[in-house]
Symmetry: D3
Subunit: 226 residues, 6 copies
């Protein structure tokens, strides 16, 4: 009863991906879905430019947040055009998320606060609404024991407990590989642990994997359990 789906910002570079994800959400709307959009290329562009202009990280993060909200709106209007009962505003705080939850089956949101990934946002949203599972349609296809692009011996993990994930992320060399930050950060793990939230990591470039999970419960990626 209720699920949170995080969509990596890369989804929003592709009309086709947006459209496919919108179709999936439209079909599964009745279970109650909170979609969290990443910031993607637009975020990167604005973050880079504001960082040069101001040297301020809070400003950079705020622009990244607003870029993710722009992506969220793109999804929101796409869902509206498909006839989905989507909440027609982007919640900017957890309280606003709660207000939206009272009236709509589907809510789309972006980031919330500087110093916080959109993966963290998806975990906070799940915790706030008492939802037990976050599906992270990510920019990698699963969690690995090491960075697979650098270490040919990196092993793809199918199931892991939160404590194991923490072990992997804190190892030197892994913590810093590109995308790790987006995949899952320590703070998000902490919230998942305290509230018993599971996370499923799927390849965001392949919406078929989300369909398989939502229809048949098949996880072609990584399942992280508390």
């Amino acid at each position: 009863m209720g699920i949170v789906i995080k969509l990596t910002g890369r989804v929003f570079n592709s009309e086709e991906l947006i459209n496919k994800y919108a179709d999936i959400i439209a079909e599964e709307a009745n279970r109650g879905i909170v979609v969290v959009a990443g910031g993607g290329d637009t975020a990167r562009r604005y973050i880079e430019i504001v960082r040069k202009l101001t040297g301020r990280e809070a400003a950079a993060d705020m622009l990244g947040i607003w870029a993710s909200r722009l992506n969220a709106m793109l999804m929101m209007y796409t869902l509206l055009a498909k006839g989905v009962n989507v909440y027609l505003s982007i919640p900017e705080t957890l309280q606003e998320l709660g207000e939206a939850y009272s009236s709509s089956k589907v809510i789309v949101m972006g980031g919330l606060q500087p110093g916080q990934s959109t993966t963290m946002v998806s975990v906070l949203a799940a915790e706030y609404l008492g939802i037990g599972t976050v599906v992270n349609c990510s920019n990698i296809d699963a969690l690995y024991t090491d960075d697979p692009s650098k270490n040919p011996n990196a092993v793809r993990i199918e199931k892991a407990r939160l404590s194991e994930v923490e072990g992997i992320l804190s190892r030197e060399g892994v913590r810093s590989f590109a995308g790790t930050y987006e995949l899952i950060d320590e703070w998000a793990l902490q919230i998942m642990r305290r509230s018993g939230i599971s996370m499923i990591i799927l390849d965001g470039k392949d919406p078929g994997k989300l369909i398989k999970y939502l229809k048949y419960g098949t996880i072609d990626g990584t399942l992280i359990t508390p």
Copy 2:
């Protein structure tokens, strides 16, 4: 006492331009400035993609508006970092503009409503606050009698009354040339007429022209008077 400065969205493609305009606004902050940012490339990208996905113009315009607000934030944080007493939020209605006006010397905003150019927004902002002049740092350097890129005989206009501008814009062939829409639309002209607002069109790519106008009153572009 008070001025509205419209910055074409193209300004926000260039760090250098943003920085220069921010310096000018910082220096002239004491006169009270409302800055209206155009949507530029970000707006175009999102408008194009949402149009394909939904076929809905209101959604396309809304994303264009939010893109212009992203540009407005970029300017806002740049001004903050320069120590300007800038209002730290982007007004989304004229009422919010009014509230901001009570406390800050400089306010930055983007679009307001579907079906409305940011030039129209700058005129509405001026009218609402009782400001007599809008400086339109535009994507062309002045008003011409015809599209200069097509008609070698097009004449650059230095001064025009609103009624004359309306004549030019309504001529077949002129109404449709690229950028006209951004330059000035009929509805904006109507508001300018009813409230006696002047507009100065300057080349947005050259911030030096804005400096000249603000410091010495020199207009190297077009002055449109009621």
Copy 3:
């Protein structure tokens, strides 16, 4: 699935008319209705007085907008007392309209922004929510080829395409007749054209005509199609 009904401000001069329209809306609530109230006499009174006191058109329009919201509240509370699931607040922006749409079958609103008729508002609301038809319960009973009060040869139009309406409105002598502004303005036509919205003009003094249209699809007025 969804309709926008514009009620001319004159409706709000008459208890009986308000009550009849409320009955119709109550009965048809399930289809989803956005009601846009005109400002009527209250608007005119405040506009006149603020114009004399300030000479400012934006202030005059703002008071007209708030007067139309007062009329909207009158309708809202009348609907509430009839047991209708009406949204218990007056949306002041399109975004607020969207939020209301998520939770309620019936929403009542007034004007939105200076420089804009409530007819324009009804068209913007339709476009924003993806509604294809606006019923304009107007202060005249149909569109005519000329001002019927001045030209005995003015012909009542039953059906017209948007392009034809534009032709009629832009003819000298027609543009300026009283009530034309309220009937339909060029900017509203532009939004209707770009988004394929139809408008039905009915006599606002005769609620029976709205009943006929909603129940049987009979149009005793003018149908304007894209």
Copy 4:
């Protein structure tokens, strides 16, 4: 169709009482319930301290109001955890109450304004939404002809008209006994009279009495009718 339940602040001193009331509200949620929480001990603590620090009654009342909102949140999250479709925000004005009413079966709120008891709030909420009955789960078990702790001859009243209640409350000696203020004030009586609202006074320490009333209509306390 719809009821307002006022819970005395004392309820919020006891986990057990909160839990029992939450169970009752959860079971009866479908009838539409507005819960108004009193401020209780937290309110008293903050009121006392701010009064010493500032000597200002408005500040004291505001802190009392916010304390009652804290109690309201406690109930709101308890209801959410029980799976109730509760509005996930605490309305701070009657207008916000109206917005909440459009989307949720159960709404929890605290105080609204300085100079006003939460009993008054419960009556205002009922009047605003057109609800005819307020159940006041109070810190005493019924209305008496005099203060029962001081006068052994005080008679417990089972039924009274508003006019009779006014008579009792205005008698010297009664007006001032502890808890009277919370029980029911003159201003609340006035609103009840003008809008024909009934109030049922039950012992807040015994949730069984609320169950009896909601299930069987049995009133083990006082019924005040207009």
Copy 5:
């Protein structure tokens, strides 16, 4: 340091009166002024019509409140046009009044809540901001011992303590005379007493009396002290 001025709704029937009061407020703006506008004729019209349509007092009061806010806006835009640093929005709660107070010298507001006179609002505003004096530019010229239109022996009171005023108001025959309600109600007296607020009653039809008070401290009306 700071004053609250209540303007009876009748002021807003007259351009000349509005203009004169605006001039006075403009001149005295530096002391910090909260203006509370009454609802006047517009309120009466809407209250009457909504009462007939719905029979609901809360709805009637809400329309009266919004009518008073319309009058407040009229004053607000008039002050803006005179160059006053007026807060460009109408506070709808005491909290919003507080926010406005942080940035502006002059704030204009109307009613707040059903069941409450605008005189009560002016007293609540004073209490909330720690202002000691309310000037009530009323529809009568002073407090009398009885209704002067009915009792030729009614004596005009120049100075009274709150306790004396209460005595006068509670006497049979006085409580009910027309305008008493607007003049000052028991609940307002209660707030004045607990927070030591004084009220000066002046004839609202004669702005000269307000000038005399503000410039020279001369009170040609009634001074009520705690």
Copy 6:
């Protein structure tokens, strides 16, 4: 130019401490101060009870946040009564903090989001507004190399770099000692590092230490630099 002062929730258990801190803030108001209040005993009480009732950490944190806002209001009204130009509302997001910053010299706030200490809030506030120093009036008097209540050899640290602090906090046994969480958490350290923010830890029970720092720059506690 500008400072953030975090007050441990324990301050709010003592009228005397609140009053002393209010005096200090009042005297130093001109430098621009953001005060962040901890939740203290009220937070603890509500957290404990909601945890038992719901088993939900997000709900527990939300009540803790609202309790800290109650403490913030207590300080806000105390400052108002001392004549300070304090912002008369409690910002609930960084954006609202920004809006407040435009108009007021002193702003008081509490927590922002679940999963986040009020120390983290004070660091986020500093980063957002470009303020370089946070003074943490804490529940311990300084940073130690180990828990001083358990390890008699624990050494009081006068100056430390962020990297050193991280070393101390991550050592087994230290991370878990009571109060560490409130003192400073890893996530706050991360924001301090990326934005070059310093923190001064002083004993919250002794306001004299804050005076010494603000007047003479003397730090009787720990200075943490980037």
